[in-house]
């Protein structure tokens, strides 16, 4: 089975290629030094093959392995995590490459390439990476063919692998749809920490600014029914209560239940798919009716807070009321939202003035909004920096800012005027995707607004930014102030690119919900749509077995050749029968041998058979090559052959 010596380097090159593909898939996940070490090992091995360089011996390899494992341990503080485990596996495979000697070692490296691919699949599932994964699968399968037959050219081996993969695709689909997926969690491997994105649990003017420049989607929303008008789409996130003069914070976690709402209109039903943010916030429109899942709480300030950070895409159904009246909280709770801002004397003075003039709280809010509307305030993403008394500075000196500034200042003003108020952060609006019929809410839609407590109507949303820049309600920040953004974002907003991105986003969203998040529930749902009533795991198993059998049948028909020979005439059939009988008795006719030659050889090699056979063979020659046989003669010959009994060759020689 060993190939000619000059073919060995080709098999080695295949295994090195499969491994390198796996390493490159990990390039943006694992530490750069590990990738570099692995690639270096590949280069070293290939160079050694060509130039007969020195390769490390067993002892050196063992020491290297220990050293590398120690480095991994030092860097990750564990060998158990997905990232640490993958790094270790990659480095050990790189060492294995340095000692490849035969087909077996080369196949192990292809296995390592497949394992690295699996690790990449576990970690990243974006649609954009799928072509890379497909390419790596193809490379590994081609490498298996190339290692088994190193004389194959590159394309031929890839085609062999690709053909087998293509034939496997229908089965893969059947398995994907119907293989019963039991909820996982046999063992837990800690994942590495990913950077969190999105709204935090505090807000200062800079944090919102960072989000506004980020074009990544935060979540997608599919409405059941007509989507509400855009200016009502306030996606509620962290509610902030504590102010230190510069930044707003959520304050301590409080275990308080929210009293039921009094709805003042029809509910809005929709499905939200969150992108991973590594934060605990779930988002819902204005006031959610209840918590949409068991692992999320609805807090007393109408916020959805999950028990775990969102590490993977996540979907939930939610119901919200755009107009509702919240019941009165205990006075002690309201008092928490009355803490006036530290410092800022001019704001306090303004509040006192407003309080004197206004007959009630609602009128005071209206007067404050009037002040913002007529005070020469403007919407700007590049406002002048604020000093320590930030609210005073904004209201009386700079007169420019964006949502964070205005919400912060407005709530501070309200509290100074003895009206309970809080800052709500979240997102405003979103972009309608006409291809996928859903709404994309991006980080750039981040927004902050105020809520004030009014005795008659409960907590009431007030958006000071809408007063300063009313167009913000209808358009995203990027449309509003394109010059404030770098070129890349502006380019993204040219109309045709926007259409392109809508298509891409729709494909991504489809991929996310129908492939990446396809689960046991999705499988049952599919069976239901196929007409199975009350499906369960057993039905899945049946569908899976039926699909498997169908595929095997199809595959058999597809690749099995059906031999078709020419059927010989009656005389020929009788002769072949005679030859077979002779063969069973231990005398095989050679392809070139005629009946007479066979008879001659029979007399020499198997003299015992000769008396019975010689006559028949001569008779056949006469009938076939003589003057022409009549049917009767052929029938006689056939009967004679049928009556012949030669016995069997025993298999063992005498």
């Amino acid at each position: 089975m060993s190939a000619a010596p000059d073919l060995r380097p080709r098999a080695l090159a295949w295994s090195a290629a499969a491994f390198t593909g796996g390493v490159l898939l990990q390039a943006d996940r694992l530490p750069l030094w590990a990738t570099a070490v692995s690639l270096l090992a590949v280069a070293w091995r290939l160079a050694a093959e060509r130039r007969r360089l020195w390769l490390p011996g067993t002892l050196q390899r063992a020491l290297l392995a220990l050293a590398l494992a120690a480095v991994v341990l030092a860097r990750f503080h564990t060998l158990n995590g997905l990232a640490a485990g993958t790094t270790l596996l990659m480095l050990m495979a790189a060492l294995k490459l340095l000692e490849t000697r035969g087909t077996r070692d080369e196949r192990i490296l292809v296995g390592a390439g497949l394992f690295l691919l699996l690790a990449a699949c576990l970690d990243r599932q974006d649609l954009l990476r799928v072509p890379l994964y497909v390419a790596q699968t193809l490379l590994c399968c081609g490498a298996l063919a190339g290692i088994a037959a190193p004389q194959l050219e590159l394309l031929r081996a890839l085609r062999l692998g690709g053909r087998a993969l293509l034939l496997a695709v229908p089965l893969a689909l059947v398995l994907f749809l119907f293989f019963p997926r039991f909820a996982g969690g046999f063992w837990a491997i800690p994942r590495g920490d990913a950077a969190s994105t999105g709204l935090g649990d505090s807000m200062d003017p800079g944090s919102i600014m960072q989000l506004i420049a980020n074009y990544d989607p935060a979540f997608r929303v599919r409405f059941h029914g007509a989507p509400p008008p855009r200016e009502t789409l306030y996606w509620r996130g962290p509610v902030l209560h504590e102010f230190d003069g510069h930044a707003w914070r959520r304050g301590p976690e409080r275990l308080r239940l929210r009293a039921p709402l009094e709805p003042l209109g029809a509910p809005v039903r929709y499905q939200v798919t969150l992108e991973p943010s590594q934060r605990r916030w779930w988002f819902a429109l204005e006031r959610p009716e209840r918590a949409p899942a068991g692992r999320v709480f609805l807090t007393y300030d109408d916020q959805l807070v999950g028990t775990e950070p969102v590490a993977e895409p996540l979907s939930y159904e939610a119901v919200s009321y755009l107009r509702s009246r919240s019941p009165a909280p205990p006075p002690a709770q309201l008092r928490e939202d009355l803490t006036p801002p530290p410092g800022n004397p001019r704001t306090r003075a303004l509040a006192a003035t407003l309080r004197e003039r206004a007959p009630n709280d609602a009128a005071l809010v209206a007067a404050a909004l009037d002040y913002l509307r007529s005070g020469g305030f403007s919407y700007s993403l590049t406002p002048a920096p604020l000093s320590a008394d930030a609210v005073d500075d904004l209201l009386f000196r700079t007169h420019e800012g964006f949502c964070g500034h205005y919400a912060s200042a407005f709530v501070a003003l309200m509290r100074a005027a003895q009206i309970p108020a809080r800052v709500v952060t979240g997102y405003l609006g979103g972009e309608w995707n006409p291809i996928g019929s859903y709404l994309v809410v991006r980080q750039s839609d981040a927004h902050a607004w105020a809520e004030v407590w009014l005795a008659g109507s409960g907590w009431t949303r007030v958006d000071p930014t809408a007063v300063v820049a009313p167009e913000r309600l209808h358009r995203g920040v990027l449309d509003l102030l394109p010059d404030a953004f770098p070129t890349r974002e502006r380019l993204l907003h040219s109309p045709w690119l926007r259409a392109l991105f809508a298509g891409w986003d729709a494909a991504n969203s489809w991929w996310g919900t129908h492939v990446v998040k396809f689960s046991y529930e999705g499988q049952l749902d599919l069976l239901r749509r196929l007409g199975v009533r009350a499906p369960d795991a057993v039905d899945l198993g049946r569908a899976f077995i039926a699909g498997l059998l169908l595929w095997l049948l199809w595959l058999g028909l597809r690749i099995t050749p059906r031999p078709r020979g020419v059927r010989p005439d009656a005389l020929g059939r009788a002769y072949l029968r005679l030859c077979r009988a002779l063969g069973r008795a231990g005398l095989t006719r050679a392809p070139h041998e005629g009946p007479l030659a066979l008879a001659e050889r029979c007399a020499i090699e198997r003299p015992r058979l000769a008396p019975a056979v010689e006559g028949l063979l001569q008779r056949y020659a006469e009938l076939r090559f003589g003057r022409g046989a009549d049917d009767q003669a052929v029938r006689d010959f056939t009967r004679a052959v049928a009556q012949l009994s030669l016995g069997r060759w025993s298999g063992a020689f005498p």
């Binding site: 087998a164 996982g184 060759w649």
Partner: protein, 333 residues
């Protein structure tokens, strides 16, 4: 390579293994019956199992499945399923690579004792190409060949060096690991293959003198003068000394000068008159003389107890003589 490992083991596992292998072989022999060439490999005689790499691949798939289920990760599961399908396709393709293969004939050119020999299997002639076929005798290395579409190919099964006699090869294993080496599909061929093993040409005794017939001319030197007969085409086994190189240089085909040298003198190689004690040594000596005499273009006769081959020469005669030596003392069968 495995023999050293086997030697290290105690005897009983080896005996068990040999016993099992033997039983299995007998069962397969009884199941399949005797093969009649030409034959086409049918489904019921093809056996297929995952190779070692195939088993390792299965383990890899199992790990992938567990990881995919554990994380509830669709993409990892999809990858696992694609590779599972790939494995099943590989199995089908491996099986198909033998299914329907036509074995036209088998022949074993005679060989000298102690030299490697080969059993030649003539394969193919159908529309499908069948790469990477290998065939081996039990316990011996395999020979391999690629079978192109619409063409036959000869697969040489290596036969390890043997002792003089008629070697009966009752069992040949024909296998393939195409296309990915994940599976091994094989079949057993049972047919009365015979390999004639000539005695090894050994011995340094001088050739017995030729009987001089009357009318033979002697030259002054005393050497025999060869009588020029003519030219004939080159045949395997002709001495290069007799090739007409000048004619070849003129782009004529390879021709051999024929002399009637031995026409007059005939050497008689008599088993009874070889002055050696061991019969095998005598046979070797006779083989040596036959090979040499044939090479020198002499006529020779061979006398064995109970059998005499009259004087002649040429490859056919050489074969007859050597075959007689090979079959010497053979139990009549």
């Amino acid at each position: 390579m495995s023999s050293t490992a086997e030697r290290a083991l105690p005897a009983w596992p080896l005996r068990w293994r040999a016993e099992l292998t033997g039983r299995f072989a007998r069962w397969i022999r009884a199941r399949q019956g005797v093969d009649v060439l030409p034959l086409r490999l049918e489904r019921r005689r093809l056996y297929i199992l995952p190779s070692r790499s195939g088993l390792a691949f299965c383990v890899l798939l199992l790990l992938m499945l567990l990881a995919g289920l554990n994380y509830g990760n669709s993409l990892a599961l999809l990858l696992t399923f694609v590779l599972s399908g790939f494995m099943l396709v590989a199995m089908q393709q491996c099986h198909r690579n033998l299914l329907g293969l036509q074995l036209q004939s088998a022949s074993a050119p005679p060989a000298f004792a102690g030299e490697p020999a080969a059993l030649l299997l003539a394969l193919g002639g159908e529309a499908t190409a069948r790469p990477r076929l290998a065939a081996s005798l039990p316990g011996a290395t395999a020979g391999s060949a690629d079978l192109p579409a619409y063409q036959g190919a000869t697969l040489a099964v290596p036969v390890p060096p043997q002792r003089r006699g008629v070697l009966r090869l009752s069992r040949v294993r024909l296998e393939t690991r195409h296309p990915f080496g994940l599976f091994c599909c094989w079949t057993w061929l049972h047919a009365p293959f015979e390999l004639l093993v000539y005695p090894a040409p050994h011995g340094s005794l001088p050739m017995p003198d030729s009987d001089l017939r009357p009318g033979t001319r002697r030259r002054g030197s005393g050497a025999l003068e060869d009588e020029w007969l003519g030219l004939r085409p080159f045949r395997d086994g002709d001495s290069p000394r007799r090739v007409d190189w000048k004619a070849y240089a003129r782009e004529a085909p390879l021709l051999v000068k024929e002399y009637e040298a031995a026409a007059s003198d005939v050497r008689l190689f008599d088993f009874a008159r070889v002055p050696l004690a061991d019969p095998e040594a005598r046979l070797s000596q006779l083989a040596r003389w036959i090979v040499d005499a044939e090479q020198q273009g002499e006529r020779y006769a061979l006398r064995l107890p109970g059998r005499t081959l009259p004087a002649q020469r040429g490859p056919a005669h050489r074969h007859r003589c050597l075959a007689a030596l090979a079959r010497f003392d053979e139990a009549p069968g």
